[in-house]
């Protein structure tokens, strides 16, 4: 187990005018090199938790401690579920813009753009407008933008939603490769098989609380099951979670 990279202490979040907490006294630690999965039904608080860790908004109470391995500030990569791209621009132009916003130098942006587009199979279409891309190509570009600055930790919100099997395979292989090089990955998904294959540690959230937190192997053992889906259904029930 690597050193702690993020430590979450008693985080709670209640949105303005909401009667209940979206996150209620959540605590856990993420270690450097983890492939950490956050799962739960709709409305469980996954997005709220990731948004707080990524500093998109503030918690109502509690603390998040960051422990950068190099430099004074933890370098975070965020790959949102929404394709936050400029469709009228080319992949290269998108990378140039976001690279600059990550405060990279022009040369660094150029080098990382070439490297990432090549790894993710987009070099051939680097100068084509993103609006001409398939869903899978857009997802790969979305990932490339989130990691252009070579972050220590990456947050991935449903990184393979709506993509073909080839793109899914390329994305997951690339993420495994990054992890081997030391990048910590926090991952959310509704694809349980993909999660089982990818994550080595998971947290299951429901109604804003962490109801399970351990390695996949230990969870299987504790609940005497053989799959993540079984654990999820066992812990969160089979009722629909339609929040209107």
């Amino acid at each position: 187990m690597g050193q702690a990279i993020i430590q979450i202490d008693n985080i709670s979040k209640r949105y303005k005018d909401a009667s209940e907490f979206s996150l209620n006294d959540v605590s856990f630690t993420i270690h450097a090199g983890d492939k950490f999965g956050v799962f739960g039904p709709n409305g469980a608080g996954k997005t709220t938790l990731i948004s707080i860790i990524c500093k998109l908004f503030a918690q109502t109470s509690g603390t998040v401690h960051y422990f950068p391995t190099n430099g004074s500030e933890l370098s975070i990569g965020f790959v949102p579920q929404d394709l936050a791209l400029f469709e009228e621009l080319t992949a290269q132009q998108n990378m140039e813009y976001f690279g600059a916003m990550y405060k990279l130098r022009k040369k660094e942006v150029k080098a990382r753009t070439e490297e990432l587009l090549s790894i993710l199979g987009l070099s051939r279409v680097a100068d084509k407008k993103v609006k001409t891309y398939s869903g899978g190509m857009k997802r790969r570009l979305n990932l490339a933008i989130g990691i252009i600055h070579n972050p220590e930790i990456i947050f991935l919100d449903e990184p393979t939603v709506g993509v073909d099997i080839q793109s899914k395979n390329a994305i997951m292989a690339f993420l495994n490769e990054l992890n081997k090089k030391g990048t910590t990955i926090i991952y959310t998904s509704h694809h349980m098989e993909e999660a089982e294959e990818f994550c080595d540690k998971i947290a299951i959230l429901d109604y804003g609380k962490v109801i399970a937190f351990d390695s996949l192997h230990n969870l299987y053992k504790s609940y005497n099951v053989s799959g993540l889906m079984e654990i999820m259904l066992l812990l969160t029930g089979k009722e629909y979670r339609d929040n209107v």
Binding site: C54, K55, L56, F57, E73, I76, F78, P80, D82, L83, A84, L85, F86, E88, L89, Q93, E96, Y97, F98, G99, A100, M101, Y102, K103, R105, K106, K129, I145, G146
Partner: protein
């Protein structure tokens, strides 16, 4: 600086790739200014140079009906067509069928009644002076029916009626003098008197009010080009407002929040690019007015002597338009809302601000309301330069107000983004 330049480059690329947006911001305003100037120039010429068609149904048994017809024809204001067979309803029908814009029906007793009226007044006058002894008769005033095409606006009708009245008044005065001379026993009025009564001896010199000596005669171009340029400038709300909503909804603003760069860089780059758009719009439209219009028989746009003033008014007007567009982008939630609210609000503010109808013809409360429109102050700034050749003293108030508008819109934008947790 590199981040700002990269962000500006991104905005420029998005703008250049948006062909419809470019057409909306550059081609349509040019067409708009061109068409409006042609229309207003034609209207100006119709009122000032062209004759108004007038059908005269003269049934007068005396000479005065004919004399009135001749006077109206000689005035140069009317293109008179006489039709003695027309009765009052026939005259109405012909006007309704667009055979003329206006018509007058002169009754058969017009001369008789006008002469009686003049004699009665002169008899009364002489009697009051103790000179004459004639009996003052009770008379009925003559009437003339004026028929007009319903499309003719009330102010034109009143001008035409005023013109007819002026001629009848002059004829009445002549009859009155004739009558006085006759009662005094002089058969013929001296020629010199007749001439002096018939002519207007007061000369009215027309000149536009201007602060300094260099004077530009206002025309359709001088009025329209600055006003419609301001309108075009504010119409950038459709492009910039949509741009902001699109980026926010796509999640790119959120993504920027996870990056070490300030969101201010994003806003600054948008403002810089759209400021450039506004300035290019002004350059294009003013150049068309100054260099293209004279070649197509439209009045030339005379640029003001105070070019620094024009530059500052242009910069502040553009800044106000950009700030307004940012605010619309911040407060609307969908692209449809940004388009609709942006476009409609600009049309309302333009109407209030005096783009279509000058504010001085508006009712008093509307004139007060017009001061709430930023477009009003942009136009005011240009009018001070283009029409009044105003000085810095005149401009400074307008510039302060424009700065206040910009600041208000920027603060509201900031507060909305803060509220949405984007900043």
């Amino acid at each position: 600086m590199y981040r700002l330049l990269a962000s500006i480059k991104k905005e420029l690329l998005i703008l250049i790739n948006d062909k419809v947006g470019l057409a909306l911001m550059f081609v349509l305003p040019l067409l708009l200014v061109f068409i409006i100037t042609i229309i207003q120039d034609s209207a100006f010429k119709i009122v000032n140079n062209n004759q108004i068609s007038m059908l005269v149904a003269n049934h007068d048994k005396g000479k005065l009906g004919t004399e009135l017809t001749k006077r109206l024809s000689d005035s140069g204001m009317f293109e008179v067509t006489e039709d003695k067979k027309l009765d009052a309803s026939g005259l109405k029908n012909k006007i309704a069928k667009n055979e003329a814009l206006t018509g007058i029906y002169i009754a058969e007793d017009f001369s008789q009644k006008l002469t009686d009226l003049s004699s009665s007044v002169s008899t009364q006058m002489l009697s009051d002076f103790g000179i004459g002894e004639g009996e003052v008769k009770e008379v009925t005033n003559p009437t003339i029916q004026f028929v007009h095409d319903p499309v003719l606006q009330e102010r034109y009708c009143q001008s035409i009626i005023g013109m007819v009245h002026a001629h009848i008044g002059s004829m009445e005065s002549e009859r009155m003098i004739n009558s006085i001379y006759a009662e005094m026993g002089v058969d013929e009025v001296p020629e010199v008197i007749t001439q002096k009564i018939g002519k207007n001896h007061v000369t009215i010199n027309k000149m536009p009010a201007s602060v300094n000596k260099k004077m530009v005669t206002p025309n359709a171009t001088q009025h329209n080009v600055p006003a419609w340029t301001v309108f075009a400038m504010f119409f950038m709300v459709v492009s910039l407002g949509t741009n902001i909503v699109k980026e926010r909804n796509s999640g790119s603003f959120l993504r920027i929040k996870t990056m070490p760069s300030s969101f201010g860089v994003v806003l600054m780059s948008k403002q810089a690019v759209y400021m450039m758009v506004g300035i290019v719009q002004v350059l294009l439209i003013f150049s068309m007015g100054a260099y293209v219009f004279p070649h197509i028989q439209l009045p030339e746009l005379y640029l003001p002597a105070n070019m620094l003033g024009m530059l500052l008014v242009t910069l502040l007007s553009t800044l106000t338009a950009v700030s307004y567009s940012l605010m619309i982008g911040a407060i609307t939630k969908t692209q449809e809302q940004a388009n609709g609210a942006g476009a409609i609000s600009i049309i309302i503010l333009a109407a209030l601000g005096g783009v279509w109808v000058p504010t001085f013809v508006m009712p008093e409360f509307m004139q007060l309301l017009s001061e709430l429109s930023p477009l009003h102050w942009c136009i005011e700034g240009y009018y001070i330069l283009f029409l009044k050749n105003g000085n810095w003293g005149d401009l400074s108030r307008v510039m302060m107000i424009l700065m206040s508008f910009s600041l208000t819109f920027q603060i509201l934008t900031y507060l909305k983004f803060r509220f949405d947790k984007i900043i």
